[in-house]
Amino acid sequence: MTVSTSTFPIAKLPTGITGFDHIANGGLPRGRTTLVSGTAGSAKTVFATQFLAAGIQQFNESGVFITFEESPDALRRNMVGFGWDIAAWEAQNKWAFVDVSPQPESEEIVRGAYDLGGLLSRITYAVARVGAVRVVLDSLGAIFARMENSQMIRSELLRIVAAMRRMGVTAILTAERTQEYGEIGRYGVEEFVTDDVVILRNPIEEEKRRRTIEILKFRGTSHQKGSFPFTVIPGEGVVVIPLSAIELKQRSSNLRMQSGNSDIDHMCGGGFFRDSVILVSGATGTGKTLMATTFLASGAAQGERVLLFAFEESRDQLFRNATGWGFDFEEYESTGQMRVICNYPESASLEDQLILMKKEIETFRPQRVAIDSLSALERVSTMKGFREFVIGLTSFIKHQEVVGLFTSTTPTLLGGTSITEAHISTITDSIILMRYVELFGEMRRGLTVLKMRGSAHDKEIREFMIDGHGLHIGKPFRTISGILSGQFIHTAPSEIERLGNLFKDDAGS
């Protein structure tokens, strides 16, 4: 039985570009031409090249690259850094260039009317020669710049797009835009050539470049809406980070893991849950790093693998401090149970940082992950970028059967919240606050478990002390209120007794 193919929903061709197929709900519309538009430096050529490279590497699908701008030699050279050996693929007949780049040695003069029949026959020939499934035309602006008759180019492009559809290839056509927002293409005709438009952006926000990708339209088929951050990394190419496409379907476990401090375990109702993320917030010097150190050391002592991302302290400092509290990080590291990654937040963009961290977690497969501190990463990114980073990282960690502990530094010494908390508090499963408490001319420290998803927990603000053996939880602060806000109000013990008695009447009756 045969069924007319036109009744089928539009099929998608998985591109193999990391994350893109996710936001494209499967890939590019198969058998059609998609316009990829962006300003100069928005990674159009990398995206287009990767479309062909991923086709060869992951799906054994051959490709044809029609270049109007860069010479094949320049492309072969420039793309080696991404691990794409174009010359080798050409030798295997998996990749063919159609070189339409300007030839400086040959002068061109226009006399009368013409069409792009020469180009079309070369495309047809190249597609047939390597049996291409994928085709790239890079870029449209270069043809318009070279030929004056844009009316002719428009109709010829339509002819080429129609011919490619008949060949059954899935194609990408790149085009320049002059601004990040506004008209899709520079010549105002680009979007009429194709049914599908993808936009790459590279705007400056708060003096930081932030790449995003948006699928503007896929005619007759679905895709994720809005723009998604992406990054271009050596050895890999374009990596799209499909944040809002993440589904809330992570497992949740009833398995408790020890924090390394029995008092805190007790306050949390028996320990942290696996597959959960704990946020430890506090001013500088309240003991957040100690908490993270204890948490990791306790895991390592039980034979687990633990991973630490440190953005504030150097490796030497961390190890020295751990030794001071009686934990031998060097020993854990030599047995392969621990991995410590220290770098400056400024060393990479947040998108790159996220990919690096994911990769570390995937290869090391730890049971515990700590980040000290998350708020250090705040300063290298825009607010929006940071929020997306936190969401991306948290949801990733929750899928990995690990327990994560993030520390966050509050900007003020007393009370206060950080931006980190505002973004992350609803995503994390548990929040532990560490605060300075001014008590009759003395600085003390207080700790409370603000939130513990799915479990009973101690609701009191307890004093804690730090000594050579670590952190010790003491009694609740009874005579002071306003600790979390930093506006302390001392209450005399007699007053507490009086207030207590007020309610006792009801309870006692």
Binding site: V100, R111, Y114
Partner: protein, 95 residues
Amino acid sequence: MSTIVLQLFIAGRTPRTERAIATLQQLITDRLGDYPCELVIIDVITDPQQAEERQIFATPTLIKESPLPQRRIIGDLADTEGLLTALNLPPVSMS
């Protein structure tokens, strides 16, 4: 002088193609009669390999191989006068 070698790349027999060929033949008989002249017509649809090797983009494209310098003229070669200048060929003897 040496032989004038011309190659005309066309994409099928279209009115545009016919116009280009007619103009070119007229030029050769009327204006270049004194010189040995060689014209090859290549159809890119039946011979795409040639189009690829010579990097033909638009059709019709006329390539003047010799005498040097090489010249490429794109279009249906509207008039013979302009074409002669464009080809950078020697002045015509009017005898």
